[in-house]
Symmetry: C2
Subunit: 374 residues, 2 copies
């Protein structure tokens, strides 16, 4: 069931079939360079999250600019990237169930792999499977620093789990996973800063308790596009996982920047390209991109080149552009760039990236791990 | 990039990897039989919408129970189904842009195909391309009967477009597409009935005007799972397009049934199967199905076998089950069936259906047209 690409290299942008996932390569590369420069200046390891892009080509572009490897969220996502040549991956998630654990352990024979835990029984399951396959698994303890998703509490619960990992025959304690997901989309800069200050202090306290038990915590990993400058400057986090900085979805665009060195300058580089397919009335045109080509969990997409026009009322394969007096005039067949509200689940709806520079298609990259759900 | 299936035939349900799209085959078949019986009784043609299931296997199951063919929303969706042997398809949508029109016209050489129009320039484009390929295209005029999406106004505008179609050298006027999408999710039965009464009367008036111009309108097609019994009984609609009746998403489950013969009895047959992957606190467990395995545009999924537990706060690969005093007790690795809020965009996130009967995997069907966006 492979879906053929919506474009050919060399084609003019306006010839690209729609809906399609397009990347403005100039902005995309500037975003990568900017982040590479920042993490070098901060002296931290950069391991961007590949759940954003799911692409081996993009992972390679990040690694050529200094990223040590990537993060994945799912075992099959990691498998797809390893198959495509990306062999340094941290699974920033718990892996539960015998089948998934088997796949993870087999993958650890082919890649530098890490995994997270937050449950004692799961630590035993991982160790049993690793022992059966004679593999040593790098295992990080996930702590809940404010996101209230997965993770054990910082402090004694984390220390107990780290001790169990460290004493397991086929696991190595690889450090702490301390991602504060909820902090990423807090609008106010100062509130985001405070959230990460709190997270870092919970990590610090846990590290102190680990040290008291003679457990070395060599790595503290976390951070996202909303907060990475704080983790990077914390002196606590050693590794940053930001991913969305590449594309900058419409939601991240609503975060208030600070006056720090790194807040500004990341641009929207990812768009869903769509066609005006119906002109039902003077106040409205219909485009061919809806629920099956964009994610709406973080709000409506933004019309990139016409801010006075609003995208509204999506259905599966349609969306409405509500026109105002200052909107562009649209005719049938016009192509429109939409900035998705949330890039990660939008990318997962597409099989191809179309890389564009100077209105021309320069690259076609498969979404390597599209649909890698398990 | 084909994704391998999450199950094998013969496997116990609990062994299926997650997140996975599972079908309760007993309920699914009962839904199909019930609809087949209804449309037979009504004496209308049944052409279910394949944008719901995107599956050649399911299209065949519907056609073996009397469906004349299926509807598609996209040219590539139709291509995928034609390639898989389903050769009677109505594209219930406008096809705009030279590339898409070319594909449509080429497909019309391999299948009994219809397409919709709502624009005079588009009629010319279709005719030019059909002429170039020496194909005759069955072309329906879409009228807006209340949905305010695509479609021309009923009455004179529709008649003018039908005349243009009928006088085009390589197009045949195939009738009226009159789908009232907005009516489908009106909660009150009587309000849905009135909405379709209004739609049918707009169609009737348009047909009268067509007849006055000696244009034969042989087909009026439309209807969805929320209203099909009204179109079926209208004496105006000749063909029904309902699709979601197969699966019955959580949103349709909230529509108020009437006391008519056909309102009751369609059951939820489609589930996203998920695993409890973290037990962070006594009031909450985390499952491995989130924004990348379910659609949330029509609300949260419903926990199928535990109504006192609520799914909440999805992220890309996680969701939270909020437990109450009467919730089940969950342990790590437990599997949970979730009823998606909206089936169509949920199906499009998966590559495989896992058909289950008596807790055992009986069928594995590819989502044939998954990701067929163009």
């Amino acid at each position: 069931m492979p879906v053929s690409p919506p474009a050919e290299i060399g084609m003019a942008l306006v010839e690209v079939d729609t809906p399609a996932l397009i990347i403005d390569l100039d902005v995309f590369e500037a975003n990568m360079e900017r982040m590479a420069k920042a993490v070098r200046a901060m002296g931290v390891v950069f391991r961007p999250h590949a759940k954003t892009h799911k692409s081996a080509d993009i992972a390679r572009a990040q690694m050529s600019r200094g990223a040590v490897g990537v993060c994945c969220q799912k075992v099959t996502e990691a498998e797809a990237l390893v198959d495509a040549g990306i062999t340094n991956i941290l699974v920033t998630n718990e892996v539960v169930g015998q089948k998934k654990i088997e796949r993870l352990v087999r993958l650890a024979k082919r890649a530098v792999l890490g995994v997270c835990v937050d449950n004692s029984g799961n630590v035993d399951s991982l160790n049993d499977c690793a022992a059966a396959h004679d593999v040593r698994l790098d295992t990080l303890v996930e702590i809940n620093v404010g996101s209230a998703r997965c993770g054990v509490s910082p402090g004694p619960a984390a220390v107990a789990l780290a001790k169990q990992v460290a004493s397991s025959s086929h696991l190595s304690f690889g450090g702490l996973q301390a991602y504060h997901g909820r902090a990423q989309h807090i609008r106010k800069f100062e509130e985001r800063r405070l959230a990460i200050e709190s997270a870092a202090s919970q990590v610090r306290e846990t590290m102190t308790q680990l040290a008291a038990e003679d457990i070395v915590c060599a790595r503290v990993t976390g951070a996202g596009t909303g907060t990475w400058q704080f983790e990077g400057a914390s002196g606590i986090y050693t590794e940053l996982q930001a991913g969305s900085y590449l594309f900058m979805d419409a939601d991240y665009g609503q975060n208030e920047d600070g006056d720090d060195e790194w807040s500004h300058g990341f641009g929207h580089s990812l768009f869903v390209y769509s066609t005006v397919m119906s002109l039902p009335d003077p106040a409205r045109v219909v485009v061919d991109a809806g629920l099956k080509s964009m994610a709406f969990d973080s709000g409506m997409p933004v019309v990139a080149d016409d801010p006075s026009t609003e995208y509204a009322r999506p259905s599966d394969e349609h969306g409405n552009l509500q026109l105002s007096a200052s909107s562009k005039r649209y005719t049938l067949g016009d192509k429109v760039r939409l900035i998705p509200g949330h890039c990660d689940p939008t990318v997962n709806l597409h099989d191809w990236y179309v890389g564009v520079r100077a209105q021309q298609v320069e690259a076609l990259w498969p979404v390597t791990a599209r649909g890698a759900l398990f």
